[in-house]
Amino acid sequence: MDTTRRDFLKVAAAGGAAATVFGFDLAPAYAQLRELKIARATETRSTCPYCSVSCGVIIYTLGDRAKNVTPQVIHVEGDPDHPINRGTLCPKGASLEQDILNPRRLTKPQVRRPGKTEWEDISWDNAIGEIAQRVKKTRDETFVEKDASGRTVNRCEGMAFTGGCTDTNEFNYLVVKAMRSLGVCYLENQARV
């Protein structure tokens, strides 16, 4: 029988004491070979989302990107090639695995209606439809085309956009494009505070 050592360990574990009864140690596995948990996982290079040092990280996901695999993160560690962090991470970066795979993540759109005390689920389509209507309504109600001296200002002071610290440059650019086109003046970001 062509038994690999791993197979033997399984058998030994299943058989429990049977394999070692009377001191006959059939195959002394003194050094359990610990498997490298990321040995064949998929590597994706990314950037840590926390501070501005921009540590390179490698996200290891389950599976090899084959069609029938839903990737899930199994480990995140520093990218040793990255000139700034050279593979190192801080305690927040080192815990990124639990940031990606976290049971507290929001996974469905919700709405809290006026006067209500609980969240309600809402479909994406309805949520976006309702939001678009509110944006338009507020804009139409508050848009100022000319100021008191008759100068063109084309601004909307009735709504605001605040962007976060982990929004990509591209997202921020799209925000500028969309919001300034709506005439939004209150365009602010974590960068301010």
Partner: protein, 294 residues
């Protein structure tokens, strides 16, 4: 078939020869912890937790940045924080990463009765094999650094493996890789010693730490985790780093002289009564004393 067993230098509770003793050439690995550049960020703690997939435990605030009072069975790597006032009144915030020291002469391994539950690889890593651990906790007694911790759920003892899984695959331990300031360093023991000595010299000559030095305690034959300390004359202030750690003398007494004395005594006892029987035979009761049959 793997050659893993050939990489073993010592086995706990083991009768007979050790498969790898003196067989393979292997570099001795070592962690260098430069406490003078530790910023107590706990990246190593979290990296250890993450890589090893350890479960979380509830902690509470204890008037310190320290995560918990000491390492735990599911928390193998802990930075110890200490506010230390120097003689000139200036304050130091001492931070020392505490974990298994991977002693050259490991007290845990010496104390362990279970065959193969603790092995020492040729590269110096002292590794617990939980499938062979019997949960007796003698290793806890044998360790002069308060490292092995018992899991009531698993009924096994756990500690830092020096990421044996990573190191055998040619990677550095998870804590080493994460360390942002490079206060942790990994390499061969010889090189880490050299680096540590170099840093200690720099601290003495340029940073005003006249007593800076390297901690590689000879009492346990040296360790595969060594420290650079601002003041090597007083390691106790770094969260109770023992000044002169030894395997407890009772463990040594028990495992060495007592064992042989005891074995001898048992054998002598058994032999003694056997010889007595050969010489004198059983005690008999003369019938006449009885005054008739019962």
């Amino acid at each position: 078939m793997s050659q893993a067993t050939l990489e073993i230098r010592a086995i706990s509770g083991h009768a007979g020869s050790v498969p790898g003793a003196g067989v393979k050439r292997e570099l001795e690995v070592c962690k260098l912890i430069d406490t003078t550049t530790c910023i107590g960020c706990k990246a190593c703690e979290v990296a250890c937790l993450e890589w090893n997939g350890l479960t979380f435990s509830e902690t509470t605030f204890q008037n310190s940045y320290q995560t918990m009072p000491e390492t735990a069975w599911n928390y193998w790597n802990l930075i110890k924080f200490n506010e230390h006032e120097r003689d000139d009144g200036s304050l130091m915030l001492l931070m020392r990463k505490d974990q298994c020291m991977h002693c050259e002469e490991p007290g845990c391994l010496a104390a362990c009765p279970a065959d193969g539950a603790i092995v020492q690889y040729a590269n110096g890593i002292v590794d617990f094999q939980q499938d062979r651990c019997i949960g007796c906790g003698y290793c806890i007694t044998g360790c002069p650094f308060n490292i092995p911790k018992f899991s009531p759920q698993a009924r096994k003892v756990f500690k830092c493996t020096l990421c044996a899984d990573r190191v055998t695959q040619g990677l550095e331990p998870a804590c080493i890789k994460s360390c942002p300031t490079g206060c942790l360093h990994f390499g061969t023991k010889a090189e880490m010693k050299e680096l540590a000595d170099h840093r200690a010299t720099q601290l003495r000559e340029h940073s005003g730490f006249a007593k800076a030095g390297v901690y590689d305690p000879s009492g346990v034959g040296g360790t595969h985790v060594i420290y650079v300390l601002h003041d090597a004359s007083d390691p106790e202030v770094y969260g109770g780093l023992p000044a002169d750690p030894h395997v407890p003398w009772t463990v040594q007494l028990w495992k060495k002289p007592l064992k042989w004395l005891g074995n001898l005594a048992i054998v002598a006892g058994v032999a003694g009564v056997f010889i007595h029987y050969l010489r004198y035979g059983p005690k008999t009761v003369p019938e006449d004393l009885q005054g008739g049959k019962p």
